[in-house]
């Protein structure tokens, strides 16, 4: 298998064949249960100090995947190894200890910050839970963190509602950093922000990574945002990875027809460039009844689409550009 990017000697996070099937009630008054195949056999690795971008549209399973990696949702199959530790086998106490090293920043800082807790307390909470510091020592840590994320010092005594969306996201980042993690899942961290503020927060995340040597799993529906932050990218469709590789290759020469369609659909802020837009037919498949064969085959615009695409699921395989893609038809 040709390496999609210069991978680090030992990955910090290694996910193998991860599967999350959720059970939900359906039918009249929930008389029947159905299985939602949110994540199906996903494998990837994130090296130390590395950012992996995870791209996909709503309902593709990217958020479920992120939560399963942190065991905020229990996976139904596969393995997650963090720095040599089997995360899925950990009993509660060591899992809590490990979570100090694995943090998450959510999309919506409004609902992820307790409205009745000052920013100072929210940031300090993790420091105390993990016994990293106390008293005046902890105060100094909180102040340093606020400086680091670009919040004023008096934020310590103020409440989330007193801040703008961008500032609240900075507070969310400070809270994640407080426990000195090695790895942060960023789940759509800038999707709720305006363009000008979004750029500020993306730059902050990049600076923090450099300064602290962090690893990110950066999840977004916005391919352009991911292009700016992640040197390596994975594309998810209907619960599976369909393409993964170096961003430069994948954006310039996508091997999976879905990646190609996704890229062509992004409006480009340049009125002079006119690109060929691939418009897909239909909607993404239901995760309850995923299509047979290639999950993308019902919408696939590839002219060579055939019986094999409908019946046999293609594995991720190396392509000419150096990336991996799950497609029978592209080389």
């Amino acid at each position: 298998m040709s390496a999609p990017a210069p991978a680090a000697p030992r990955p910090l996070l290694e996910v193998t064949d991860l599967t999350v099937h959720l059970t939900r009630r359906a039918g009249v008054l929930g008389a029947r249960t159905e299985i939602v195949q949110a994540v199906n056999g996903v494998s990837f690795a994130v090296g130390p100090h590395e950012t992996l971008g995870l791209v996909g549209e709503s309902g593709c399973g990217k958020t479920t995947l992120a939560r399963a990696v942190l065991r905020l949702i229990e996976p139904t199959g596969g393995t997650v190894t963090f720095d040599g530790t089997d995360v899925l086998a950990l009993p509660p106490a060591p899992l809590r200890a490990l979570r100090r090293r694995m943090q998450i920043v959510f999309q919506d800082p409004v609902s992820s910050l307790n409205p009745r807790m000052t920013i100072g307390r929210a940031v300090r909470e993790g420091i105390e839970i993990h016994h990293l510091a106390e008293g005046a020592d902890a105060d100094r840590r909180v102040e340093r963190l606020l400086d680091e994320v670009g919040l004023p010092r008096d934020a310590v005594h103020r409440f989330p509602h007193e801040f703008s969306g961008g500032q609240r996201q900075r507070a969310g980042i400070a809270r994640a950093l407080a426990v000195e993690p090695d790895f942060i899942v960023c789940d759509e961290p800038v999707s709720a922000l305006d363009v000008s503020v979004q750029a500020q927060v993306l730059n902050l995340l990049a600076d923090l990574q450099q300064r602290r040597g962090l690893s990110y799993l950066f999840i977004s529906h916005d391919l352009a945002v991911v292009r700016h932050i992640a040197p390596r990218v994975a594309v998810m469709y209907a619960g599976r990875l369909v393409e993964t590789g170096a961003a430069a290759t994948l954006y310039a020469r996508p091997a999976h027809p879905y990646t190609g369609a996704l890229l062509s659909a992004v409006p480009v802020p340049d009125p002079v460039t006119r690109r060929h837009r691939i418009v897909l037919e239909g909607d993404p498949p239901s995760p309850v009844r995923p299509p047979s064969g290639c999950p993308f085959h019902p919408r696939c615009p590839h002219p060579g689409k055939d019986e094999r695409c409908r019946t046999e699921r293609p594995p991720l395989a190396p392509k000419a550009g150096g990336q991996l893609a799950a497609c029978w038809k592209t080389t």
């Binding site: 730059n203 292009r227 480009v268």
Partner: protein, 352 residues
């Protein structure tokens, strides 16, 4: 997207907005959400209105149709003329004839804009019967025809579906069918694709462009997405802090933005074709509508600002024919050259 060049249109504009101001009462005092807006839209033209949250672009769209909620107050002296007729002075009954018939609107959230207990066919047919004296069967026939035109597969049976039975993209198509079934002269599309995935967004934008061409209607496209503006509009207004800060033919706006805010916005947009790396951010935050800064409202965030910007409110000044911007740099262009050589672009957009 066809090119009836806006400059070569001496005819009376389709829509002419002058001095439009909308004030809201809030706990923090009056909020001047929209403050003295002027807009012109010609027949058949696609015009963009761009800005970030809180700039007043959605309030503007509501005010054009007199849909501002009771907390908001449209200031005396505001004027919205459609083909010369003052909409702000129309009796309620006549205004209802204008809405949906001459001017229609498509909102961002298709899930809440549709009535959940009526089929989509009923909802489109209802619009027809509100504006035309036709039999129920004829209204239904037109509804199905329109649903087919907006690309709903198997429109005849699908017309019997309720909104929850449709996907987000199909619901947005149903809303577009409702908006266009009476062939309005102007469609206001307020963030029509913001709630949709990028592949579905692409379908809807293609559809809007196609229908616009087919019906020859004008479109006012309100969005925060500069990519969508670049790809679909001929002329663009940029809003900041309740005001229009720049107006230009879309190619000129992207090639040579005249207002530092527009410039900053364009630099801050992540691009697919740019390599990995830092973005140029605009420092600071959008101010609240209850406390717009004195002078130029952008001056606290502007890298070029000098004393005049803090003291005097700039009018829209001409940058090129058909291209205006609310910036004193246009009155003192020497400053831009001087500052940029002195600092070599150093401090521009530094503050993340």
């Amino acid at each position: 997207m066809t090119a009836p060049t806006p400059a070569a249109a001496p005819a009376a504009p389709l829509l002419e907005v002058k001095d439009l101001s909308v004030t809201y009462r809030t706990a923090a005092g009056p909020a001047r959400a929209v403050d003295g807006i002027a807009l012109v839209i010609h027949a058949g033209e696609t015009v963009g209105l761009v800005g970030e949250s809180g700039c007043g672009k959605s309030v503007t769209s509501l005010a054009l149709l007199r849909l501002v909620d009771p907390d908001g107050h449209v200031a005396l002296g505001s004027s919205v003329r459609l083909e010369g007729r003052e909409l702000l002075a129309l009796p309620g009954k006549e205004m209802r004839q204008v809405r949906g018939n001459h001017v229609a609107i498509v909102f961002q959230e298709p899930a809440t804009a549709l009535n959940p207990v009526l089929t989509i066919g009923d909802q489109v047919a209802e619009v027809v019967r509100t504006h035309h004296k036709v039999a129920a069967a004829e209204a239904w026939r037109r509804a199905v025809e329109m649903l087919e035109l907006v690309g709903i597969p198997d429109a005849a049976p699908a017309a019997h579906h309720y909104p929850h039975q449709l996907s987000g993209g199909m619901r947005q198509r149903a809303l577009i069918a409702m908006a266009l079934v009476c062939h309005p002269k102007l469609l206001i599309a307020d963030e029509p694709t913001t709630a949709l995935d990028v592949t579905i967004q692409a379908e809807i934008l293609e559809l809007l462009t196609d229908l616009q061409r087919r019906f020859g209607m004008a479109v006012l496209l309100i969005t925060h997405n500069l990519g969508i503006v670049a790809e679909t509009t001929q002329r663009t207004y940029v809003m900041y802090a309740g005001e229009i800060v720049e107006e230009a033919p879309t190619p000129a706006l992207f090639a040579a933005p005249a207002h530092p805010y527009t410039e900053g916005l364009l630099a801050a947009v992540p691009r697919l074709d740019a390599p990995q790396g830092r973005l140029t951010a605009i420092p600071g935050q959008v101010p609240p509508a209850t406390a717009w800064p004195a002078g130029c409202r952008f001056h606290p965030r502007c890298a070029w600002a000098w004393e005049r910007c803090a003291a005097e409110h700039p009018p829209l000044l001409e940058a090129a024919p058909g291209h205006t911007a609310r910036c004193w740099l246009l009155a003192e262009p020497g400053r831009r050259a001087a500052t940029s050589t002195a600092e070599a672009g150093g401090s521009r957009g530094a503050g993340a």
